[in-house]
Amino acid sequence: MMDSRKPSSWANGALAVLRKDLQLELRNKSVLGTLIVFVLNTMFLILVSAGRGDLEPRTEAALLWVIIFFTAALGLGRAFLSEKEQKTRLFLRIHTQPLMVYFGKLCYSFLTILCANVVSACIFLLLLGVEVVLPGLFILTLILGTLGLAGATTLLAAIIARTTRSGILLPVLMFPLLIPLLLATVESTYFSFVGQSFTEGGWTASLGSLLTITSFSGVVVVASVLLFDYVWQD
């Protein structure tokens, strides 16, 4: 913070990084467009192979989240690779604090994957004819799940940007870590589809899952903040 060229507070710095990334994204629309085409393709595959309307709610919830996870694995790896490809990593390191970069990228990842997820969810519900009994719970799960995904994946994206075989590595690194998140989101989404469990309402039944998702997001963000320096610096 001593250096006058550096932004005055980390919130300003993070916003600057986020603005830069969003501007680049809006300029060539590469990542988001490709992601949405990917989602459409995957949906089509599922629709063709699984048929319409004869899936269990549990299977539907699982399918939706598996699609979301794969979309995230494809899209979120880009966050730091783009700096490497455009050779702007050094520039960012000189002009910002590591935490500004982390939070900027976190917000960028969150927004990108949220857009893709909203599109996925809408197409999924429309094409498979799923009836959502508790829309509020569904939307909350989608947002919280996206937060957990972005939180866990931002640090991993920074890690894979430092490796040589970046393409295939992100899913391998991220899926085993995200299994708790996947299980909790699937359960909560399931309750939003069926509305209730045997004994209690959907909201009460999925309270544990929502709590798990929230605390998971909190823990991965805190762990990332503590560890990000070591990945970012040489």
Binding site: T163, L183, T212, V220, V231, D234
Partner: protein, 236 residues
């Protein structure tokens, strides 16, 4: 090799021999176990399966501790220790999975063709093994040793932070037949006291074997590192 290390190694070897003798003592001997329906003599797997898990847990924690050390001091020896602990942990994890799967096949799923049924404990162990596989995949994708040490340590710790959630989430989602799970009696309620005579020494013995393998691999890796640096000195 320091004489103290040799002594400890000898003690562990003799100790494990005694544990094995105890584990397989049949007939009218003191350590013969009572026959329980369904379990029969498969109960002896307790002496192997459970200590393997304990050893894996201990090595996982050790790996994380040395990952912290590696980030704090940048020392290549910490990296070797962290990596070796992970390797031995994954070995014990796979052994634990194998013994558990065989045990379940001949007791819980007797008469069926099931070997694997996504029991929470099984799933957790499998995830742990997958995480370490990812850890080694990550290591192989990094060329510079210093960078590899640091980034692998970061991944190690990041994974370690997410594991507690598995403990919390899995039992809510998946039903379990495993002892100690919800509604199932725990180890202490169902086990004949005579089994403890072998079980507790077996836990110590397996942790000893884990320690032995771990120190051996660390010494080997350090020796290789030193040899390489001598070669480089001669080269220039």
């Amino acid at each position: 090799m320091p004489p103290k290390y040799k002594t400890i190694r000898l003690v562990i070897v003799i100790w494990m021999t005694l544990v094995l003798l105890g584990a397989f003592s049949f007939g009218g001997t003191w350590l013969n176990i009572p026959k329980v329906a369904m379990l029969e003599h498969t109960a002896r797997n307790l002496y192997f399966h459970v200590p393997m898990w304990f050893t894996m847990m201990a090595l996982t924690a050790l790996s994380a501790v040395h990952a912290i050390q590696c980030l704090r001091t940048n020392s290549p020896v910490s990296d070797i220790r962290s990596r070796t602990a992970a390797l031995i942990a994954v070995t014990f994890g796979m052994l634990g999975l194998a013994t558990g799967s065989v045990w379940a096949h001949y007791t819980w799923y007797e008469g069926t063709n099931i070997w694997w049924n996504f029991d929470p404990k099984q799933t957790m162990a499998a995830v742990q093994v997958l995480i370490y596989c990812a850890y080694f995949a990550l290591r192989s994708a990094l060329d510079d040793p210093r960078k590899r040490a640091r980034i692998a340590a970061v991944y190690n710790l990041f994974a370690f932070a997410t594991v507690p959630f598995l403990l919390y989430v899995l039992p809510r989602q998946l039903e379990s037949l495993h002892p100690g799970a919800e509604g199932n009696p725990a180890f202490s309620d169902i086990t004949d006291p005579i089994m403890r005579v072998v079980f507790y020494p077996a836990v110590l013995g397996f942790i000893g074997v884990g320690w032995l393998l771990y120190t051996q691999r660390v010494r080997l890796a350090r020796a290789l590192m030193m040899l390489r640096s001598i070669e480089e000195d001669n080269h220039y």
